[in-house]
Symmetry: C2
Subunit: 257 residues, 2 copies
DNA sequence: GCATTTCGTTGCACTGCTCGCAACAGGAGA
DNA sequence: TCTCCTGTTGCGAGCAGTGCAACGAAATGC
């Protein structure tokens, strides 16, 4: 589903990235914790941290021997770009939607052949700690993904749909291309998409398209919650709220309507 | 000024980070460009890119052979943390300030012994393309830095001021500690700080403090513009606008006033 | 259209960079 | 005070990283 260059090649680089991920996950860690987690000797972990620190990707926290991610990461993130503007401009609307709908709201964009989550605002009743930001999700199994697929141009969509079988993630995942295409046509009519436990058991989501100045769909805003509390009926009731929010975000991106 | 662990140690990791910085700066690059810039053989550059791609920090753009930063960076940035909340909550106010003042607005926080820029909104008349986000700036030579120094607790401030001589960056940089202390006392009285070509020739800035729920100063919001268009008189006129903006941001962080 | 140049990609073998080991100093807890 | 754990440093072996050469594909120039 994407072609990777190289084989993942340079072991010490791979290890350094693992170090970054550990710090991202844990917030802070010492040399020995890092060493244990990537299964290397302490002195190796120490040197990897040193290399990362010398370039600002890692820094030492106030506690001696505790390392955390540094602002060099933010600087790099500033280069990832234009799609982060979408995230920024939509954030206030997401906050309002999260309060109004009561569930967690996400912004996602199409990237390669995935829906990538750019931003997240937890709903007041959110019980799950899961942070979707930066996560890649399969297009066919998420409401955001379906929105992005529905509004992709025909050629792009045909390519995305022919990139291999639709992977079943739950019993409910749509794996039949014809059925998915039917849903995508419906999404273009109704203006929103929904997913009923297709990505994860117990997780329901609904999404609406965000348009750019030019009118093309460049992102999706979604609301997600547990199936027991966010069933199909409720999702359909809330569709208009989400669509309004999506329209407001579109306006913020310069879309005239 | 900080203590570095290791010596920057692992050459291949260092090279990989250089690759990330090149992509951040250029947006996109091919194997040969990267190789030329870090002065390694093409095949080495290719393998470094491959390692970074395998972990999502780099991805291939639609153009064959063109690489760009991937969303793994965003995921990592999500772990840098709590201070990014400040950035998010203040952004709408920064946008308004940038329009109202007409110049570029930044948010900065104290980190180690630097002012680190978290966010930036360019003013309508901004001619410079410079992106300060993620940049470390010396406390004594920026208005944000002065605000953060002025409101640091006495012990911390004494430590920061005793960390070596105040480096002269222009003819106008304050290098006398007593003079800087006098300015910091004035900042605490007036409620804002300004810099007249102290960081860079031709660059003037003004800053005001942002307070957290607890009332302590956790960030500074600043406006900066070219001296010819943003002279001292105009800055003082605009101080109340910036202070109002800072107060609004403080309110957003839960400060009750 | 053809020839040339440049690109990205792969396999090979050399060697220097990476790594683990051992030792040490410092801090915390019993 | 002793023990254990931590982070940090120096050393040298060996293997992982590297440059070279070759190849196919794409781009460019005539």
């Amino acid at each position: 589903m994407g072609n990777e260059s190289g084989s993942g090649g340079v072991q010490s680089v791979d290890r350094a990235i693992s170090v970054l991920e550990i710090l991202s996950r844990r917030g802070e860690a010492g040399v020995s914790e890092v060493a244990a987690e990537i299964d290397v000797h302490k002195s190796t972990a120490f040197r990897l941290l040193g290399a990362l620190e010398a370039r600002g990707l890692v820094e030492q926290a106030e506690d001696r021997g505790k390392y955390r991610l540094g602002f060099g990461i933010i600087r790099l993130a500033g280069g990832v770009n234009t799609q982060m503007d979408i995230s920024r401009r939509s954030h206030p609307v997401c906050q309002r939607l999260a309060e109004e709908i009561g569930e967690t709201v996400n912004i996602a964009v199409l990237r390669s052949s995935y829906a990538v989550n750019l931003d997240q605002v937890r709903g007041p009743s959110a019980v799950t700690a899961y942070n979707w930001v930066g996560q890649l999700t399969p297009l066919h199994a998420t409401s955001s993904g379906k929105v992005l697929l529905a509004h992709a141009d025909d050629r792009q969509r045909a390519k995305l749909l022919s990139d291999g079988p639709l992977e079943p993630l739950t019993d409910r995942t749509i794996t039949d291309v014809a059925e998915l295409e039917r849903q995508l046509a419906e999404i273009r009519e109704t203006g929103y998409a929904f997913c009923l436990e297709e990505l994860e058991d117990g997780l329901n989501t609904i999404a609406a398209p965000i348009r750019s100045y030019h009118g093309d769909v460049v992102a999706a805003v979604s609301a997600s919650g547990p199936a027991y509390r966010f069933p199909a009926e409720r999702m359909h009731e809330l569709a208009s709220v989400l669509i309004s929010g999506a329209d407001e975000i579109s306006g913020r991106l310069g879309y005239a309507g």
